[in-house]
């Protein structure tokens, strides 16, 4: 029987892959420009920024593997027609199976000790007494942490040995113009100088932690389970995709508007400038969160009216996520636009622009060839800074009730549903803690990296550092 999966294309999947492709093209373009290449290599030689970038890339890889959706065929059917299951899975789900399968009834070990629901029993006097049942540990004869750890270490070393062997063969082949015993040390020194060695080590550590978590979670709930018995680790890992999507797709919507409006307004001046300034002043005059929630509420009603457009719940939830990105993008471009306008005003007066004009270069090619490359550093800095605030904003929006669909796994939804459980006695903290820890690590990496990007690309920072 053919074992083929049926791919499902969600709108956000398309956008996040589009973003990944665009990012790859940008990296290739940067590699061909020596001046940009130098700035990036200085940035990546710093161990701190290097680690942060690798962490961000790791999160992005998780999000990307989580963005390939499909439906699996049901294996029991023996007919010629293949029947697909209704459940939409992603590649990430298959990698981490059996993590996504709900096995528990409610909160469970290791953090919970008692059953959430009361049990009733007759005592000797014939009265019903109620009590909370103890959750039994190791009722299924699971392997102990020690056994799991032993197995994992063996596996880890096996894979490490294989990859090391392959790598050494590759190096020996690649550096074949050297004496054979100098080949590996030489290669390692070049790697170390460019900071790649550090990235590799960070990646290995991150991957080990990830694999370790997945391995343990096949028998244990590392972060416990939620109220309805879902594994919290699985929830937080699935939330990575939502966070990354909000952070990246929003920029796909906001960057083109901000860049085109900003440089046109600064370059052409006069009426165009007045109109664009009016538009962005008007939009920025409305308190941000109010505009966002008003837009989300209105579009939600509009989507509700057209519920028949979507064939499944996943699609409508996905459309809502895309819509939120769109709204955040439409409302969030004003500050970047203002900065770009100011910078373009300065560049417009430069001699090389005057020279280009006298030589008869058209406006569009001046904008594209002379002005755009000279304001790109602002775009880069603002985009990286905005990324972290967008990830944080998602949680707040979900709390207010204008965030992603309740069925979408996101940190905001996790926090929102676990928030009231803190009031229980004893407090149920693991769901919150997991969401906050993952969100914190993503936002921290993004914030530190943003700092590095600003230090490397903002000419003002260089002046400050140079004077000291």
């Amino acid at each position: 029987m053919l074992y083929l999966v049926k791919p499902i294309f969600l709108a956000t999947d398309a956008f996040i892959w589009l973003f990944a492709v665009m990012l790859t093209i940008t990296v290739y373009k940067i590699k061909r420009q020596p001046n940009l290449c130098k700035k990036w290599s200085v940035l990546l030689q710093s161990k701190l920024y290097n680690t942060c970038l690798v962490t961000l890339v790791f999160f992005c890889i998780v999000a990307l593997t989580d963005s390939i959706h499909f439906r699996e065929p049901i294996s029991e059917t023996h007919n010629t027609k293949i029947v697909y299951s209704n459940e939409v899975k992603s590649l990430f789900d298959s990698v981490v199976t059996p993590l996504g399968i709900v096995k528990e009834q409610s909160y469970s070990k290791p953090f919970a000790t008692h059953n959430l629901n009361k049990s009733y029993e007759k005592d000797s006097a014939g009265n019903y007494i109620s009590f909370y049942n103890h959750l039994k540990i190791n009722e299924k004869n699971e392997p102990s942490i020690g056994e799991l750890g032993y197995e994992f270490t063996i596996k880890w070393f096996k894979w490490a040995f294989i990859s090391l062997a392959v790598l050494s063969l590759y190096i020996l082949f690649k550096e074949r113009n050297q004496v054979w015993h100098r080949r590996i040390p030489n290669y390692l020194t070049t790697l170390k100088k460019s900071g790649v060695l550090h990235s590799i080590i960070t990646a290995i550590i991150l991957f080990t932690i990830f694999a370790c978590l997945i391995n343990i979670s096949s028998c244990y709930h590392v972060f416990g389970t939620s109220k309805i018995g879902e594994d919290v680790l699985y929830q937080t890992m699935k939330s990575i995709r939502t966070g990354i999507i909000i952070g990246t797709i929003t920029t796909i919507f906001s960057l083109p508007i901000a860049i085109i409006m900003g440089i046109c307004s600064g370059y052409f001046g006069k009426t165009i400038d007045d109109i664009i300034q009016y538009i962005y002043t008007t939009i920025s005059a409305i308190p941000g969160i109010l505009l966002i929630s008003a837009a989300v509420l209105s579009l939600q009603v509009w989507l509700g009216r057209h519920a028949n457009w979507f064939s499944s719940m996943e699609e409508s939830a996905d459309m809502r996520l895309l819509m939120i990105c769109f709204i955040l993008g439409i409302t969030g471009w004003t500050s970047l636009c203002r900065l770009l306008r100011g910078e373009t005003l300065k560049i417009r007066e430069m001699d090389y622009i005057t020279a280009a004009k006298t030589l008869g270069v058209s406006n569009s090619s001046i904008l594209y060839k002379h002005i755009l490359p000279n304001v790109m550093h602002i775009v880069l800095i603002i985009t990286v800074i905005d990324f972290s605030s967008l990830v944080l904003a998602e949680a707040v929006l979900s709390y207010i009730g204008v965030g992603v669909d309740p069925s979408t796994m996101s940190w905001g939804n996790m926090i929102n549903s676990a928030r009231l459980e803190m009031a229980r006695e004893p407090a149920i903290w693991w769901s919150l803690a997991a969401a906050f820890v993952f969100m914190f690590s993503l936002v921290l990496a993004a914030n530190i990296f943003a700092d590095g990007v600003r230090a490397a690309f903002d000419p003002r920072e260089k002046n400050n550092a140079g004077a000291s």
Binding site: Y278, I279, T281, T282, I283, A285, I286, P287, I289, L290, L291, S293, A294, A295, L297, S298, L299, V301, W302, R305, S388, L392, A395, V396, Y399, I400, G401, V402, I415, R419, M422, A423, A427, L432, F436, M439, F440, V443, L444, N447, I448, D451, R460, N463, N464, A467, S468
Partner: protein, 325 residues
């Protein structure tokens, strides 16, 4: 000066009109009065007659922009857009979709919002500026290094975490303050203490970093180098030269947000159950009460524009180099 203020006020009119058009499009065209009626009356089993009655009672049954069946002044004055705009401009906000008087709600809910917002602003400012001064004073030392690292750490934590952790520690575990609620008068102190503290802590990361960058920008200016070269101590340079000059952007940015204090803080107020304008807005959003949201957007915009105008005026006052053109 008065001429300048008047000109600025005239400049506000097209922007307010633009905001009004945006909210009108969102609330009456994307989301039609029919949808609103259905939502208020319950989604199922609504007769068309009931929807029409509801719309007529709210005045939503008029045509959107233009009534083509009437003559010139009436064809515009009988439209929904004209009537809604007229009400907002007169500050006559009418009843919410839930049937409460919005004007009354706003005037009573303003004070709890201010009781939180003003102490958070003043204490937060003091904390931010003093930490920024300490970091700049110990420039190029481990204090600066660790100070900036702690700032980034504090910045990266979600504001929700501070609120939830604060309520758990101070309210539930140590029982120092009530977890949520509000009392008018002097007793408000018990209820306000924790929200204010959390507002300060959650703002301290980005605040200190911003003030530090303002101070550092002045740090390398020629006048500061001259002052150090002629033998002034670091403390004196900081106190007499850097701080006054850095105060210009600080003061103007504070003036810009002063009017917005009325709006209250959405998250803090709703988490701590404080009956201010912030929680009013959140309730309106969660009940999908578009009448209230529209009013809050209008007031917010008005206050923002007021803040911008005050900033410009204060600029000329604190920085004598800027002459009004």
């Amino acid at each position: 000066m008065i001429k300048y203020i008047i000109r600025r006020m005239i400049y506000m009119i097209p922007i307010l009109l633009g905001v009004n058009v945006i909210t009108f499009i969102l609330f009456f065209m994307v989301n039609t009065p029919d949808d609103m009626a259905r939502m208020q009356l319950g989604n199922k089993n609504v007769t068309p007659a009931a929807i029409e009655r509801w719309k007529a009672s709210k005045g939503y049954d008029k045509p959107l922009f233009f009534d083509s069946s009437k003559q010139f002044p009436e064809n515009i004055s009988e439209s929904l857009f004209y009537n809604q705009t007229k009400k907002l401009v007169r500050f006559d906000f009418g009843l919410s979709d839930g049937g409460r008087d919005i004007n009354y709600d706003i005037t009573t809910r303003m004070y709890p919002s201010l009781a939180i917002a003003i102490p958070s602003l003043i204490l937060g400012l003091l904390a931010n500026i003093s930490f920024a001064l300490i970091i700049v004073f110990f420039k190029d030392s481990y204090i600066e290094r660790w100070g900036t690292i702690i700032c980034i750490l504090l910045m990266s934590i979600s504001g929700l975490f501070y609120i939830i952790a604060g309520q758990y520690l101070f309210g539930k575990l140590w029982k120092l303050v009530p977890i949520s609620g509000y009392l008018p008068g002097i007793n408000a102190v018990y209820f306000v203490a924790l929200p204010v503290m959390i507002a300060i802590i959650s703002g301290i990361g980005s605040g200190v970093r911003w003030y530090r960058s303002l101070l550092l920008e002045e740090y390398f200016k020629p006048y500061a180098i001259t002052a150090r070269a002629k033998g002034l101590s670091d403390l004196q340079v900081l106190k007499r030269h850097l701080l006054p000059n850095a105060m210009i952007p600080i003061v103007t940015s504070i003036v810009a947000i002063l009017p917005l204090l009325f709006m209250g803080s959405l998250l803090t107020e709703s988490f701590f159950g404080i009956p201010g304008l912030g929680s009013y807005t959140i309730d309106a959003i969660s009940q999908q009460d578009f009448a209230i949201i529209r009013v809050m957007v209008f007031i917010g915009t008005l206050l923002y524009m007021l803040g911008l105008m005050m900033t410009d005026i204060v600029y000329t006052w604190v920085d004598p180099r800027i002459r009004l053109s």
